[in-house]
Every structure is written in C-alpha cells, then in structure tokens.
Symmetry: C2
Subunit: 368 residues, 2 copies
C-alpha cells in the first residue's frame, strides 16, 4: 500500500498514520508516536530546526548532543527531553540504545558533518544533515556509504526544495510558462565579521560558495532539472584584514547546462549582497528575491504568445520562520515512516559537492 | 590656453567658443560656426543621433550618406542639408571636397564600421563611430591607424560614459562610498525577432555580446577603472527556429580584475532580459537599472561605517532621449575644436573588441 502525502497527513491527523504505513515497523507501534530527533550541535541553525519540529505534528525532539552540558540541560528542560538523552560529542555513540531517538539532525560546522553523520548511522540512527553536506567529495561519499551500510536514511537539509515559493517557480518553468529558459542569474552573499567559524577553513571547508553560494548552485540545478555540463569561475580576496587568511572572499561562476541554459552566479563574504535568482525564458521571466527563512517573494511576468497580454505574478509567501524547517523535517519523517528515499538524499548533497569542487577547479583552486 | 568644459560651454553660449579655442584653426573662423556631421547610414540609431545634434548648440548635420536617395532627400529637406551633400555609399569619398562636413557619424551595421571609418578618414573627416567598433580586432586596429595617418580624430559612441547617472555611479565608487568594491553583476538582453540584421553574423560579427552585452562589459571596465585580467564564458543556442543559424543566442561570462574585483554578466537575444548593473562594496551597493536612452535610475545604499545610518539614494535621471546623443556629440565636437583626445577614442573600442574576443575564446569560440 502506498499513501499519497495528503492521505498520509489525513491519517496522521487521525492518529492512524503509523499503523497504516508499511515499513514503519517497530518504530511505529504506537499510532501517536512521533519520530524522535536528536539535535547534534546547539548553535543558531539548531534553534530554527527545533522551532520547526515543535510546530510539527509528525516529529519531536528526543535527544541533544552538545559540548556544553549546562546549555544542553536548559534545552532539555524546555523541550521535555529526558536528561538521559543528553550526550556529549565523546559519548554520543551510546544513543544506539536510546529507543526514543530515531534520527539525528546534524547542525555542526561543515567539517564535522561527515564524522557525526557516520557515527550516527553506526549508532543506528537516520541522519538529517545540514548543507553543505561535507567539506570534501570523499567525505560525502563516505557519509552515503555509511548510511547505506547501516540501512539508515540520509537527507541533506535543502529546505528551499520543500517550500511553496520555490516549488511554484519550478512548476511554472516545467509548465513552460516562461517558454524556453535561456539564462539564470543568481547571487547570495553578505558581509561576514571577523571571528565567525565560516572564515575558518578547517571548519567551513571554503569561502562563501560553501555556505551561501551553494543556494545559487542548488537553485540553478533544481530550476533547470539538469546537471551542469561545465563551469567557468574566479575567486578573489580583496580585504586583507585577517578575515580571509584561510578562505576566499568572493566567487563568481558561470555554468552551462546540457540543454544550453546558461547561468551566471555570484557570492561574497565581503559585501552586503542582494540574494535572489532570476530566470529568463523566451516568453518571460521569474524571480525569487531571497533564500531566507521567511518572506520569500515570487515575481513573474510572461506571455503565452508574443504580443499577448502579460501574466504578472507577485506572490509573497507569508509563512513565518520556522515553517520551512517544519516542512523539510516532515518530509524526512515521512520517508522514515514510509521507507521512502528523501527528495534530497545524500546523493543530492554529493552532486553539489562535486559541482563546488569543479567551480573551485575552474577558478584554479584545488579544493574539496 | 586650456578651457574647462564649463568655460567652453559658457563661451559657446556667447558664440565665442570657436574664436577662443586653440586648434580650432580654419574650421572655426566664424564664431558661430557649428561642427558639421555627415551621417552615414539612416537607420534607427541615426535618428537618435540626429535628434541629439538638433538639440546641440555646438554641432549640426551637414551631410548624409545613404543607399536610398529618396530617403536621404527627405532627411536633407528636413535638416537643411544641401542636396550636394547627399552621398551614396559608392561616391561618399567625394566628401573630401565638402567643406561643410568636419566629421562623420558611422551608424551602419557593425561589419561596415571599418570600411566607412577608414574611407572617411581618408576623405579628411573626423570619425564618430557607433559601438561595437568593428567585427574584428584587426579591423579595429586598422581604423585607429587610418585615423592616425589622416591626422583625424576617432571616437566610439559609448554614450553612457558621457551621461550623468553613470558618471555619478563612477564618482560614488571612486569616492569610496561603497567601500572596497567586491563584485559586479550586469545583464543586458532582449528577444530578437527573425530577420533583424543583428542575427546575420556577416553584418553583426556575433550574437548579443556584440550588440548589448558590450554595455555590461564596458560598464565593468568604467566602473572599476581596470582592465580585465581573465575571462570565463559560455555561449549557447537553444532555439533552433532559424534565428540563430549564424550567431549564438546566449552568452554568460565572469571576469576577474587585477584588484580582485570579480564580475558576472549575462546577455541574450532569446529572452526579455532585465538590463542593469549592480556594484557590491564592503560598505554597500549601487545599481543603475538600464542602459537605455532615457529614464536611467541610480539606486544606492551604503554606510560610511558598519552600523552607522545608511545613505539611501534613488535618483531618476529625467533627461529625455536624445539628450545622451547631444552629450556625446558635444564632447566629440569639443575634442575636434580644442584638438583634444576623446574620452572614448578608438583605443577604448579596441579594448572592448579584445575583451569580446577573449570572452568568445573562453567559451571555446574562435571569433573577432
């Protein structure tokens, strides 16, 4: 029996989802049972995720991993997590015996994603890992292999592939509303302050491409539904004020896709940059004006035929943070309960890792 | 004696400019004499130029070259050009003896710029030539040499380097208002219809890069004040409907400048594209939202120090077409009368030609 998302939600509302589902097995003996997530790393992004889970009807926080016991105990008290489900980085492998934890959410600096994904899979937990998946292609491959060996699911947290504004943009393109897509422009960047972990290559793996440029890269891939054929790129560092001793400040790149669609993208840690993508087709264009947690806005202007009246869209998504986190978590929970492959599995993260490696290589940098 | 532009204008208003100026020589015996331009090619752009000259106090139309005598006679009657100063493409070299013609304005398809620039110089006329300068680097070099040999001035019609919105953008950047510039984005393109000369490589020399992408290229150069160090680029053709049998449909490119400033640019004939450039610096950004003949708008947002109140600019240039043409023509006239080198001489056009050749080469195309 296969259930549609809508059918599943309906059953969920009746408390019947887990019973009705194939593959739910032991984890779903109790119809009211939510999938339990252990958050690894209690930084800024973890707070967004926790808020998303709190708003979810399918998932809950059941464990915490932190280097700061005090902080973790405060989180635990607030979230109703038993003290016995608080782990340190050293002893987190013990969660193997923690039946309340079905999956982990890896919210650590990039370079730690691989180790904690692999250890979590070995501890018998599904893994929901933040982007970028890792700091090297080989680490990404090891993460996929570890989850496969443990028969556990791996999903990369590409939240924009689960929220309605981006899905609407993709839908318009697939429906041919823009005609034949020709060119995509995208940028994402910000001014990063000294001392942030992102500027430490040992933690981040690289500059703005890894953290924010990856949104542009991922968008060009999901908007086209194609994989890049080739890249041209440059990296540069202009500010020699200590911030960019280990990572580059700016990256620009161009891509060509097999259909002929071309893209030009920019990212920076050196300037307050407008974040957006814009898609130009023979019949018109569309733009989504940010990659943020909320306030996404789709604008579009296209004509079914040349000279015909234009269809003008200006759709503001009023969903508030952390709704995007609820959506992506609900998806992973559904995959766990229904034994489905996530829409953005480890392989999706690996594809971006390989693309970023090629972008660096095109810029003359051996990286990732 | 050197006169400032303002002083010169003042004298011009008094009808004294030509008398006061060194180097004006024979051409300026009469204080009221305007520099006379012969328009070569009576297409769309020529009409803008003619309007610009009609609004000028320094210049006038004194000759016409056209393949259509009837059309030329209509223009002549309207503009007060004597019938004896109407030439065909075959006999235009006779303008050597036409004392009313000081300079020519070359408004022909790109591939004809070289021949008519060289013939005009040999006929003893200064040359004001539309962009792109030519359809090959070697033609551009021959044009410069021919004008030099004839001791005549050559200016390429980069109108945006003479109008206040772009000059203001440059000024803000040079003053450091944006801090250290990091990244520039720029795009310019449109949906081109079948049958237009631009789609015929024999006339245009190439695709959208030659006609509209050149604005992005030129802007990245005048905004930075630097010459590109290297290019990455792709060209593509998606629509196989006969329009792109000889030229490509899309071009995207990235550039790195010696200071480390990087740029990503896009151009197309296959889609209605937003035309603009946006400059990101450590203290803020600015944008000019079109390369059009009128209605240019500068928007900027920057802070003198991080955390300080933002300076927000939104300046709409209300000058109407053909004011930009008046400005650039007045500049060339001033150069002729004052024996000065134009701000955008043949060498400026050649630099863009060489850059476009490198962009094509980076895209794997041998061109120009």
């Amino acid at each position: 029996m296969r259930l549609s998302r809508r059918e599943f939600s309906k059953l969920g509302a009746m408390g019947l989802a887990a019973q009705a589902l194939p593959g739910a097995g032991l984890q779903a003996q109790d119809g009211n049972r939510k999938v339990g997530y252990c958050v690894i790393g209690l930084g800024r992004i973890a707070n967004h995720f926790i808020g998303g889970v709190q708003a979810s009807s399918t998932s809950r926080i059941t464990g915490l991993v932190s280097g700061h016991r005090d902080k973790a105990e405060q989180f635990a008290a607030r979230l109703g997590v038993p003290k016995s489900s608080i782990y340190s980085y050293e002893d987190m492998d013990r969660m193997r015996d923690d039946k309340g934890i079905d999956a982990v959410y890896v919210a650590l600096p990039n370079s730690m994603h691989a180790e904690y994904t692999i250890r979590s899979a070995k501890a018998g937990k599904h893994v929901f890992c933040e982007k970028p998946m890792s700091t090297s292609v080989s680490d990404a491959e090891k993460m996929i292999a570890a989850c496969k060996d443990a028969n556990k699911k791996l999903m990369i947290a590409y939240r924009l592939q689960y929220e309605p504004t981006n899905l609407r943009a993709i839908e318009l393109i697939r429906q041919g509303a823009l005609g034949k897509v020709q060119v995509i422009e995208s940028a994402n960047g910000f001014y990063e302050n000294a001392g942030e972990w992102r500027l430490n290559k040992a933690l981040s793996g690289g500059g703005p491409l890894m953290d924010v440029g990856i949104y542009c890269l991922n968008a060009t891939r999901y908007l086209t539904g194609e994989e890049p054929q080739d890249f041209g790129a440059f990296v540069s560092t202009i500010d020699h004020d200590g911030r960019f001793d280990t990572v580059e400040e700016n990256t620009v790149w161009t891509t060509k896709f097999p259909s002929g669609i071309v893209a030009s993208c920019s990212t920076t840690y050196g300037a307050p940059m407008r974040s957006y993508y814009r898609v130009y087709g023979s019949k018109g264009w569309l733009e989504v004006g940010s990659f943020n947690y909320e306030g996404l806005r789709l604008q579009a202007n296209y004509r079914s035929e040349r000279g015909s009246p234009a269809t003008v869209l200006d759709e503001l998504n009023t969903e508030r943070d952390p709704k995007q986190f609820t959506r992506e978590t609900d998806h992973f929970t559904e995959c766990i309960l229904q034994n489905k492959t996530p829409k953005t599995p480890g392989e999706e993260g690996l594809r971006d890792m390989k693309c970023m490696q090629r972008i660096y290589k095109a810029a003359g940098v051996e990286a990732l």
